[in-house]
Symmetry: C2
Subunit: 205 residues, 2 copies
């Protein structure tokens, strides 16, 4: 990696760190791009070379998660269900982050919960998960990609994912992985039960 790239990387991290501190201190709406730029020692205009919006800073690691999730789904071996792939991805993801980012995640949760714009942004993120998951589920079920069932299933699964995030906020730091898997498995049992019930009905589409 050349100097140029390293520098960019470093600036990006600085922006995130500095912005998060400001958000925690003055709130998201109470912090301007100008403030962030000043703290990060860049020109306000430069900020937009790194992030397309103020919101994007808060979700700076979402793209990586999404790409990994998406790849895991697409690369799942024939016969492995989308559920199983999702479960595996989640375990990896949690294991990978556990050491470093707990505190940061918590701060983010609080910030999002307190800021409508950020909640909207998060819903948009989850919707991307839902879309890609729905497609994989549709393959599992041999159903058209835009039919009802895959979307029901994906919506519920993503709701579980979302609940997971909120959950780890409240509970006083149990073994995060185990807890998450328990929640997810409950959700998967629910989904499987729903699908089984549908299998005994004619298809309405």
């Amino acid at each position: 990696m050349g100097l140029r790239e390293r520098k960019k990387q470093r600036t990006r991290e600085t922006i995130v760190r500095v912005a998060m501190d400001l958000f925690a201190e003055r709130g998201f709406e109470g912090t301007t791009i100008h403030d962030i730029a000043a703290s990060a020692e860049i020109a306000p205009r430069t900020f937009f070379g790194y992030f397309r919006s103020k919101e994007a800073v808060v979700f700076h690691d979402f793209d990586a998660a999404f790409v990994a999730f998406s790849a895991r789904l697409h690369a799942r071996p024939a016969g492995e269900t989308a559920f199983v792939a999702m479960r595996a991805w989640l375990l990896d993801w949690i294991a990978e982050r556990e050491d470093v980012l707990e505190a940061e995640d918590l701060a983010r949760r609080r910030l999002v919960a307190a800021t409508p714009t950020l909640e909207a942004h998060e819903r948009a993120n989850l919707a991307r998960f839902e879309a890609v998951l729905a497609q994989a589920v549709a393959e599992d079920l041999d159903a058209p990609a835009d039919s009802l069932r895959p979307h029901l299933v994906a919506a519920a699964a993503v709701a579980a994912l979302d609940a997971l995030g909120r959950h780890s906020e409240e509970d006083a730091r149990k073994p995060a992985g185990e807890e998450a898997v328990a929640v997810l498995d409950e959700a998967l049992a629910f989904l499987q039960g729903g699908l089984d019930a549908l299998r005994r009905r004619p298809v309405a589409q």
Copy 2:
């Protein structure tokens, strides 16, 4: 109703009509508040006396729907499940609108689908449905309001509601009510099956 109120009502309707026409013509982003105000023959500043944002115009009837839905849920007789109440509300809602608003709805759907900001707004609206539904479901299940199961169920139910909207776009105008009920009933069967499956497991919360 006095003159003042009638006038306000009329202006409001004018804004909606005029704005929707402009959106259809130039797109949502391609239309400014200034344009709308000019067409509606009001001052730009006055627009904000009627709507808190440009997006709010597109969803001008959401509040009424939400209030009706919410009221129907809260007023359901003891023993009536949230599902049943939701189904009843939906039937009423469709029946009530069917005559007048089909074309308008279709235009709205197209507009929303073409505009990220509006999609975000719509997700926020659906989230409000989800929240109030989740609470009602929690009562049905005798579960805490923030526990997992009600949220799974509500998320899937709202996904069905959403699918309903998108659905009526594609199909060349079948009997809208019947179609909608078929979709919703499939969703409800799915949810019921999922809950039945969970009943045979220990509760993870």
